[in-house]
């Protein structure tokens, strides 16, 4: 019974997600759904990306948080268009929230829309928000066992960014173990070790973004 209710919610979300996909395809906007645990560095990664690529692309952000507009304020400081969704306790963004947010944004000349999901390695993976790709950020401080322990989010993600590599000397983390398990779930996964803080490794992520924007423009 409980499962049936949850399935109905997921089916309703899938329909809205398809509408969003149609809208984003028409506008030729690359949409990335950024997911991670709390504190893995999603907002810092976005701040650097928005700053470093601001002359190349027109980028916009939808920020998802339970409470506060702290993250949206950090994003706005980069000059990017941003809108904050407060889920008021909800553990993930869903299609209807993103649909409502897009209605309040100016998206005509936007090349990339980043959706920064609620910090949570479980629930956001189940709800598509019309994105082209899910991108999961795993901080190396969280441990190399996370792909094995939270498989759905890694199986669903096109990209895994292994963030906070500046802290690698101080923690036990095997890049190989984390990468191998993630690829066992998802053989096509693109994996980049990065430090958003020091910008180490960010160029590979930017090159991937450039390629995906070109691909989306071609339709």
């Amino acid at each position: 019974m409980q499962i049936k209710v949850i399935r109905k919610i997921l089916e309703a979300n899938d329909r809205i997600s398809e509408q969003l996909k149609g809208f984003f395809r028409e506008k030729k906007i690359l949409v990335l759904n950024l997911m991670s645990s709390p504190g893995a560095g999603k907002t810092t990664l976005l701040e650097k990306t928005l700053t470093d690529l601001k002359d190349e692309f027109n980028m916009a952000v939808i920020e998802g948080d339970l409470q506060t507009s702290n993250d949206a304020e950090r994003i706005a400081a980069t000059g990017a268009q941003v809108i904050q969704i407060n889920t008021e306790g909800g553990c993930h963004l869903d299609g209807s929230m993103v649909l409502e947010a897009t209605g309040q944004m100016e998206l005509d000349n936007v090349d990339v829309l980043f959706v920064e999901n609620v910090g949570n390695l479980v629930c956001p993976a189940e709800f598509s928000v019309g994105e082209d790709h899910k991108v999961t950020i795993l901080s190396v401080v969280e441990g190399d066992d996370k792909p094995e322990k939270y498989p759905l989010i890694f199986a669903e993600s096109r990209v895994m960014l292994l963030n906070k590599t500046d802290l690698l000397p101080y923690v036990d983390f095997s890049m190989e173990k984390a990468s191998n398990f993630a690829r066992s779930l998802n053989s096509d996964m693109v994996i980049y070790p990065v430090s958003a803080k020091t910008r180490d490794g960010m160029d590979s992520w930017y090159d991937w973004l450039r390629k995906e924007v070109r691909h989306k423009k071609k339709g």
Copy 2:
């Protein structure tokens, strides 16, 4: 409509949680519900606690994870009684899962039962599992803004352990900011900075545990 369904699930959980509380009171078992983001160090903290206090208390553990029994194996290596619950994608433990687990454990002479919840800073806070206290572990690497961004879990917790203090020199984290905001949600909160890895600060946590066990025994 959706809210009604969720409320019904919560009400059903509350009834089971009350049954569990009655059972644990009768057995004089102190029950602590450990919650955190993925990778904040719950299992390491438990490993150290179980090892360091094994001559003082009889301790048992219920491990909650989406998948794998990796954590239960780490706990079993300390010699403590442990049972693993796999939620198969579920983002939190609930009362019925813990009720079923307790039915398979030998709890007659147990002083402390630790319930290690699924790594998630949102959903576990809503589901009581009959615990005396919720204990939230926040790794300093996650950032000092987390109590503000995930208020429910901090408002509900009796204790906040600020873990991984060995990494403080390498990250921007204000103990004062995190503590002040947590206390603004919950003025009675007990806060201990610890490094489960180096054992720095663990004695204060152990003293708190000893006090709570004595209190529970008195009934």
